[in-house]
């Protein structure tokens, strides 16, 4: 897997600066209004406050109970740790956001009235409106998001992509979109502003990495509801327990009941939930992908069908000559020479690959060109061939039917046979003729990217079906898809066909992801459940998709899918762990609570904890420490192994379910031993 963690601003987990910043953030987050956004931590906070009041009252009345003070302190620590986790996750994005913000400020725009104007009016970028035209020249920063409507320029987009190599932006092409905050390196372009200030791409990115504008994803909302429901159940349990105990003969200390409540409610997942979400988005940004919504990231984890463009994704962008096939008794070397000569002035990638093949395989040299007086015939769309005239010799290269109609019936039968054979293997045949006699064929071939086969195998393991989209004919498409290992293909694709395919898959109940860059991809990108637009693409495509890939690398969908899955998994594993922990906490706290009412309850103290006070305190300390101990897991995400979902379920259930049952028994016992070793409380 090609992990490109380009963002050097990323700091390690134990960076002291970062920790200091997070600690400050954690205290600020103790504000009730902020705390209330997370029901579980809010409940824990209220419990801690309630416990403080009681402990304080006892201190004032001169009957302080040391265990109550300890417990109260650890309850506050639990809340603090939860805030701290969130603050750590946020502060990791802060530094990055700051550098982005620098790009946003200070920019001035040269606004012009008409596209051909040279006179401009200098206004701050923040005053620009949608539809304004601005001129940007070499060395200047582009003041806002938009499309190039005139000119061509090289642009340094390293502020947003982290990639230092400049990219080309050109009007009227699929590479017309520019981003505010990037710098023009050469030439002059006119940009039509497409987004209002404050809603630009850069603003979105800043909001995203900071986690400030983060909205809960649908699944996160559902989980929050489930956790709140559990907290409510435990509230009923703990409140009624005081009544049951009263009936049984003795009131329980309220602080102990509060401790039981906080121990039971799922603080582990509750405290880490938002950190998981922020860290997940952060991981996407690390892969240079901007998600417009958390919903899209979650949906990415569920993708059943993945539509990939052939060109640039499955294969290298261009076809290459793979073979020269002579006919009619012509020697191979003769054919090669004709091919070379016909392609010397051909600047297309195919033409260059023909020259390269002639050089590499037949040891020819393109310097041959200097030997003759040559007249090059450029390609023209009517007769679909190109070539060269050298004195009386005319060499032509072109589409088979064109060459055949030029040459008449000479070797037509043999030539057609070879053309058919090449086409059947998915290649593109060209014919070469000399003085109206067919010499042979050139086999142009799509070259499948080297590691792509393994990537598709991995996707298949994850249960994702890949469909290759290509404008090729079905035979070519079939051959390439077989070679690359995709599951299916859509040949002779048009925008309508793509849209139809996506709708068809969705009607079958599948979630579809696709990536695209051109304006004609926009409808399909909008229709797909996850549409990844390439950053090099048009504004239309970037608006239609719900994610933007800054590297414009379509195979990155695999990583996006994995991040989506990881996001859910981190939540699931911590929820399971949190709930399973409650069993051990009961065994610690219940005997401690009830032993005063029924001395025989000591039999339930299977961990043999030192005293009732130390037992309750140990459970609370464990509860707080496990929260902070799991912060790295929340930030890095649960481990994802590509494979069937059932296997992941089993593995995580074993590790976090069974582990969650056992771990707290060991943890609570150890803490209790420590507490009692230091003289108890």
């Amino acid at each position: 897997m090609s992990k490109k963690a380009k963002r050097k601003t990323r700091s390690s987990l134990i960076d002291p600066n970062l920790l200091r910043m997070a600690a400050r953030g954690a205290i600020v987050k103790l504000r009730p209004a902020t705390l209330a956004q997370n029901p579980i931590m809010f409940a824990a906070g209220v419990a801690a406050a309630f416990s403080s009041v009681i402990a304080l009252r006892n201190v004032v009345t001169g009957t302080p109970i040391s265990a109550e003070i300890h417990i109260t302190a650890w309850l506050w620590l639990t809340v603090f740790f939860g805030n701290f986790a969130e603050a750590v996750a946020e502060s990791r994005g802060k530094a990055q956001a700051d550098s982005l913000r620098k790009a946003r400020t200070e920019t001035m725009a040269k606004r012009i009235k008409n596209i051909d104007d040279t006179e401009f009016e200098l206004i701050p970028a923040s005053k620009l409106e949608v539809g304004n035209l601005v001129a940007v020249e070499a060395g200047e920063v582009i003041p806002g998001d938009g499309d190039v409507i005139k000119g061509i320029a090289t642009v340094d987009e390293s502020t947003i992509t982290g990639e230092s190599a400049p990219v080309i932006r050109e009007s009227g092409s699929d590479r017309s979109a520019v981003t505010g905050g990037t710098r023009v390196l050469s030439d002059r372009i006119v940009v039509e502003i497409g987004t209002a200030p404050g809603e630009s791409f850069l603003d979105r990115m800043i909001g995203l990495v900071e986690g400030a504008k983060r909205q809960k994803t649908p699944n996160e909302t559902a989980l929050t509801i489930l956790l709140s429901g559990l907290a409510l159940i435990f509230l009923i349990v703990c409140v009624t327990l005081e009544g049951f105990a009263a009936y049984s003969g003795r009131l329980l200390p309220v602080v102990y009941l509060i401790a039981l409540f906080v121990a039971l409610i799922p603080t582990t997942i509750g405290g880490l939930l938002s950190a998981i979400g922020i860290a997940g988005m952060d991981r996407l940004v690390m892969f240079n992908v901007i998600a417009k919504s958390g919903r899209a990231v979650e949906a990415a984890g569920d993708i059943d069908t993945l539509l990939l463009d052939k060109t640039g994704t499955v294969t290298f962008g261009n076809r290459m000559a793979a073979e020269f096939i002579p006919i009619g008794g012509i020697r191979e070397i003769q054919l090669a020479e004709a091919c070379l000569l016909s392609s010397l002035s051909d600047d297309t990638p195919e033409g260059k690959s023909i020259v390269r093949l002639a050089e590499d395989k037949y040891g020819m040299s393109s310097s041959i060109a200097t030997k003759y007086q040559m007249t090059f015939i450029p390609f023209n769309a009517q007769n679909r061939m190109s070539g060269v005239d050298i004195a009386q010799v005319s060499i032509r290269k072109g589409a088979p039917d064109s060459i055949l109609s030029l040459c008449g019936n000479g070797n037509a039968r043999e030539a057609s046979g070879i053309v058919g054979r090449i086409a059947k293997t998915g290649g593109t045949p060209l014919l070469v003729s000399r003085n109206k006699r067919v010499l042979g064929a050139i086999h142009l071939k799509d070259i499948v990217k080297p590691a792509i086969h393994e990537r598709f195998a991995m996707l298949r393991k994850m249960g994702i079906r890949t469909i290759m989209i290509t404008g090729d004919n079905p035979i070519t498409a079939a051959a390439i898809s077989a070679e690359a290992g995709v599951d299916d293909f859509l040949a002779e694709a048009s925008p309508e066909k793509k849209l139809e395919l996506i709708r068809g898959e969705q009607a079958k109940g599948k979630l579809v992801a696709m990536c695209g860059d051109g304006s004609n991809d926009a409808p399909a990108l909008a229709q797909a459940d996850v549409g990844v637009a390439m950053n090099t693409g048009t504004t239309a495509a970037r608006e239609a998709g719900n994610m933007i890939d800054l590297d414009s690398d379509p195979t990155k969908l695999i990583e996006i899918v994995m991040i989506g899955k990881q996001l859910l998994m981190s939540r699931g594993t911590l929820t399971t762990f949190s709930l399973a922990n409650d069993v051990a906490k009961y065994f610690a706290i219940l005997p401690a609570l009830f032993v005063g009412i029924y001395p025989q309850m000591a039999a339930l103290n299977i961990m043999h904890l030192g005293s009732p006070e130390s037992a309750i305190l140990s459970a609370i300390v464990f509860n707080a420490l496990i929260l902070i101990a799991l912060v790295p897991l929340a930030l890095q995400g649960a481990r994802f192994v590509p494979g069937p979902a059932g296997a992941a379920l089993g593995r995580n259930l074993l590790v976090y379910g069974a582990g969650g049952l056992i771990a707290p028994f060991i943890g609570i016992k150890s803490i209790d031993v420590l507490i009692n070793a230091f003289g108890g409380i």
Partner: protein, 561 residues
């Protein structure tokens, strides 16, 4: 002993399977028939257009409520004025309003909690037109609700869930009535009376005259066990020789108690066209039942330490049943009693063939725990399937997260709305059990025995779970308890049905997603383990503190002597 337990369980399992399998075909067929949208059919021509139209979840629930409350109102009036109505040969008095309210709600909600003692309390009319009718109608309501809930998973982009009247009507005519007729005939053969004579006079050996209450017992016992009602003709319920005369009648009744709940689990796979789903729900239920039954039988077959000083032989031997035989019938023994107790509390039936009050603390904890779980192990007719589906939805949610996929069950995405509603449903039970129990206990002097805490907890668990069994020493026939328990039964039935139907309505409006390689399977061992884990963990965590002060404290005191 162990071999005997296994043999008994195996025999029961085989017999249940033999009855439940054909019944599951019948259920699935009725489900499908109620699935076909019929604008004008038999039902609508008979009862008006409302009976033939498709209903969304709200109007389905409303119909169920209107229908059941009307029935309960009628029953309430019959009970109140039974002394002025015909078929009252023993001249039973009219009941007090509080008691009539309690009984009316109890039989309407399929709880069949019997807040009356004495077999002469009710007239024959009250029994047949009142209780008997509600026995059928409450079971039919359960079946209809289950049909509606399953349609939520089956239907796509269609908010309607069928028609309540049609479903309930089909349930009575094609399922409950035929089954009851066959079962009643068998019971008569075993010696259960079926007569309109209310009593017989017998000359006792000592020369006195004894009045023995009898009546249409077989028909009521049949629907009592088939419809997970549990309300006996006699106060002694299944322990009375006229209700349950022989070991064979005991066995057959147990099979019938399981028949429809098991058939529902089996039919579920047919209804959703994926039989593997049935297998996993069934496997989870069987495993949970075994986990619950074994400790119950174990603690009951052990000697009671309180009696160990006395000249009582508590050892198991050929001639001596051994163990804790207090309150148990010798014709059933420890096994027959504990298996019955586990079965009727697991299935929300609530019929009893022994005094649960006299069970050992941990032996009695099992029936209590069954109800605290919310009748999810097989559960009531229809309602059991609903209960395990609610837990399945929650389990699927957690499983989805664990597997890294937004959760879906049977192709339907489980999202915030479904989780909210499932949480409301799950929250209802602790609310209805813990708070009213506490309110009851608060009226008693502090320093009470753990056993009375257990009794109270048992009463409200039984009411909230619509089970109906009880610890006999609990004094339920007070105005407060009659009304409080009645309200809890009502909440346990319709407070639960409302959010669950809402889940179904929400799911049926969604499009279904085809399973792919990324979908985690909701069949297979891992999911079954997780489902059992969620059910036990949620039930255990919610009620363990209260239970610790009841049966567990009692157990520890008893054994620490």
């Amino acid at each position: 002993m162990f071999a005997q337990v296994l043999a008994q369980l195996a025999l029961l399992a085989i017999a249940v399977a033999a009855v439940a399998l054909p019944l599951s075909f019948l259920l699935a067929a009725q489900f499908d028939k109620g699935n076909v949208p019929v604008a004008k059919g038999f039902w609508s021509s008979l009862f008006g257009p409302a009976f033939g139209t498709e209903q969304n979840w709200k109007s389905y629930l409303l119909s169920a409520l209107v229908f059941n409350l009307t029935g309960a109102g009628l029953l309430f009036l019959i009970l109140l004025f039974q002394d002025h109505l015909p078929f009252n040969p023993l001249h039973a008095d009219g009941l007090s309003p509080a008691q009539a309210f309690n009984i009316a709600i109890s039989f309407m909600t399929n709880t069949d909690w019997q807040a009356y003692t004495g077999d002469e309390t009710l007239s024959l009319l009250s029994r047949m037109a009142g209780l008997g009718a509600q026995n059928f109608l409450s079971a039919a309501t359960g079946i209809a609700l289950a049909f509606a809930v399953v349609r939520g998973f089956v239907r796509e982009k269609n908010p309607s869930l069928g028609n309540f009247y049609r479903d309930a009507g089909r349930a009575v005519i094609f399922i409950l009535l035929p089954l009851s007729v066959v079962a009643a005939l068998f019971l008569v053969h075993e010696g259960v009376p079926q007569t309109l004579a209310a009593s017989v006079q017998a000359s006792a050996i000592d020369g006195g005259i004894q009045t023995i209450v009898t009546g249409p017992v077989a028909s009521q016992v049949a629907i009592k066990v088939i419809g997970s009602n549990g309300g006996g003709y006699f106060t002694a319920n299944g322990a009375h020789p006229f209700e349950n005369p022989t070991p064979l009648s005991n066995f057959v009744q147990m099979v019938l108690i399981f028949a429809l709940p098991a058939a529902f689990l089996l039919a579920f796979g047919r209804m959703v066209k994926d039989r593997r789903q049935s297998r996993s729900l069934l496997a989870a239920s069987v495993v949970m039942f075994a986990i619950l039954f074994v400790p119950c039988a174990h603690y009951e077959s052990k000697a009671n330490p309180a009696l160990s000083g006395l000249a009582i032989d508590q050892q198991v031997s050929e001639a001596n049943p051994g163990g804790n035989m207090e309150g148990k019938e010798t014709r059933f023994g420890i096994l027959g009693s504990t298996l019955w107790a586990t079965a009727t509390t697991a299935t929300s039936n609530g019929a009893t063939n022994a005094a649960l009050d006299s069970y050992m603390p941990l032996g009695g904890l099992i029936p209590l725990f069954n109800m605290l779980l919310g009748e999810v192990v097989f559960g009531g007719v229809g309602c059991g399937l609903i209960a395990i589906l609610v837990y399945t939805v929650l389990t699927v949610f957690i499983a989805g997260l664990l597997a890294g996929r937004t959760p879906e069950y049977l192709g339907k995405k489980i999202e915030a709305r479904e989780i909210t509603l499932a949480v409301v449903a799950v929250l209802l039970h602790p609310l209805c059990v813990l708070i009213p129990s506490l309110a009851s206990l608060a009226a008693m002097p502090p320093g009470g025995e753990p056993h009375s805490l257990t009794q109270t907890l048992y009463a409200y668990a039984s009411a909230s779970a619509n089970n109906g069994s009880s610890f006999a020493s609990f004094d339920a026939n007070t105005v407060y308890q009659n009304i409080a328990l009645g309200l809890v039964m009502l909440a346990g039935r319709f407070g639960y049905a409302a959010p669950v139907l809402a889940i179904a309505g929400s799911l049926s409006s969604k499009r279904a997603i085809l399973p792919s390689g990324g979908t985690f399977p909701t069949h297979g061992t891992v999911f079954v383990i997780l489902l059992i884990g969620v059910i036990f963990l949620l039930g255990g965590l919610t009620f363990l503190p209260a239970v610790a002060l009841g049966p567990i404290a009692e157990h520890l005191s008893l054994y620490s002597r």
